[in-house]
Symmetry: C2
Subunit: 292 residues, 2 copies
């Protein structure tokens, strides 16, 4: 297991973590400059942030600072109720692959989607099995396209509390079942993003990380689970402030040969997004060294 | 699959559902009288409600109305940091078994507990595997006691979002692993409570219900998952108001021979607990017929 205590060379900042400073949305260009100032070598930006600043501008800034992208957030959201909806998801996912290539990302992270309409509060149906089939079909199709440009796809199993509205792939086991089905050769073109927030509770976690192996472990995300958690989406904790034994999980991942970045991804309306961006980045660096 | 549309003979009310009326805590005696008036044949009371009214009084009232108990809520909370804590849990669980016997409950439901202190906001440690071992040991010990009085124990896997503070058994698969380990003969003394709220998202749900079989299926609880869900604990929905395909899951359970009550268990600070108790009971009856 790598020693993170001496520096932060393996820290990546998911740009959602500092999406807001003092409660105000920040341009991605500013976030990137701030990361560079703090000696952070990698980021993982969100598509909406990239779009707001412009893909070419961000791509240029990333190159200027020699930043790595530990991932690109995000493709997915495959399920739909009709052919037009499926086609729209198809087209959008192809664009996401293209953008990930332009930015030189390590992988495109997939949040696969769930019951159509649920995120807007009105699910079109209750058939999660149907959504799961659409997810399988969607990833299969996208994989063929992503292979042509050499962009790996990382399925991110989300916590089961997001099964209705964000992702109907909720365990590492399920994600790996899809990988085995769609890429049985373990080519490296399809794998998983392991976010401790989503999977820490799973009694089969260690076994499934071992099953994944280096070829399937494309990304490693960290934050912490707070007790109490006051919001299902935007109350994630800073590493060390919650109950997740992060070093133990990182140990399992690195035992498989994973040697990529540890990406901090925190959504926090009430706490971290209210603070000053540079203070948050300093805390991420400290906690990366002490609690990851 | 039984036809629920014509009457509510298989409806049970978990008394937490009408714990409050117009936001005010209600005595269990009143709740029982109300259930009886509505022709409800079964309830599942909580220990704190029973204690507040007195065990003998409740036991008498249950007999007077000829009510069944589809379960008794709840035993469990096994993990602790020291011997005194483990002993306290042990003693309390033995009392819970005794009370369940006095009340004539079908089973004692076990919410097994998780990281000690987490429910109060300060987890004593982050070693969920240690808690899981304490849960296994605790159930094993309690099972020996419960067998002597013929009280079945029903492990209730809770949704993974409660893994830190309420229960570190979070899938039906894990619960059944414990059953197989502690009661390999499938004697009926140990089984599971299947609450759709906790397990609906699980891609292995149907297979695990089949694995459980009639001998292990001791209770069936219903409510619904709302989108959005605004609180991790107290924002459960009424059947039909959310995204869970309840009839499908009931079908799987009944395919195994389960022929017990369908127990409505709704915690709802902002909605159902604000309403009038009798109106809530009428809605439970309607939705039992239309959406379960």
């Amino acid at each position: 297991m790598r020693d993170f205590s001496q520096d932060h060379r393996w820290l990546s900042i998911n740009t959602a973590t500092v999406r807001k400073s003092h409660g105000q949305e920040q341009p991605l260009t500013d976030i990137i400059e701030a990361c560079a100032r703090h000696g952070i070598r990698a980021i993982s930006p969100w598509r909406d942030q990239v779009a707001a600043s412009g893909l070419k501008a961000i791509s240029g800034l990333v190159k200027t600072h020699g930043l790595k992208l530990s991932g690109y957030c995000r493709g997915g959201m495959f399920p739909a109720t009709d052919a037009a909806g499926l086609q729209a998801a198809h087209d959008d996912n192809h664009r996401a692959v293209d953008e990930a290539c332009e930015l030189g990302a390590t992988c495109l992270v997939l949040v696969v989607g769930a019951l159509p309409g649920a995120l807007a509060g009105q699910a079109a149906h209750k058939d999660i099995a149907r959504s799961r089939q659409q997810v399988q079909d969607g990833i299969g199709e996208l994989l063929a396209y992503a292979r042509t440009s050499g962009m790996p796809l990382a399925i991110e199993p989300l916590h089961p509390m997001y099964a209705a509205d964000r992702a109907c792939v909720n365990t590492l086991e399920h994600a790996l079942d899809l990988c085995d089905l769609l890429d049985p050769a373990k080519s490296g073109a399809l794998g998983v993003a392991v976010d401790v927030y989503h999977v820490w509770w799973d009694p089969k976690l260690q076994a499934q990380i071992e099953r994944a192996g280096k070829q399937r472990l494309l990304a490693f995300h960290v934050c912490d689970w707070l007790t109490p958690t006051t919001d299902l989406l935007n109350d994630r904790g800073m590493m060390g402030d919650g109950v997740i034994d992060i070093p133990r999980i990182r140990g399992w991942v690195e035992d498989q040969g994973f040697n990529g970045f540890s990406e901090v991804e925190i959504f926090s309306t009430g706490n971290w997004w209210q603070r000053d961006r540079d203070a948050v980045l300093r805390t991420c660096i400290e906690r990366h060294r002490s609690d990851v």
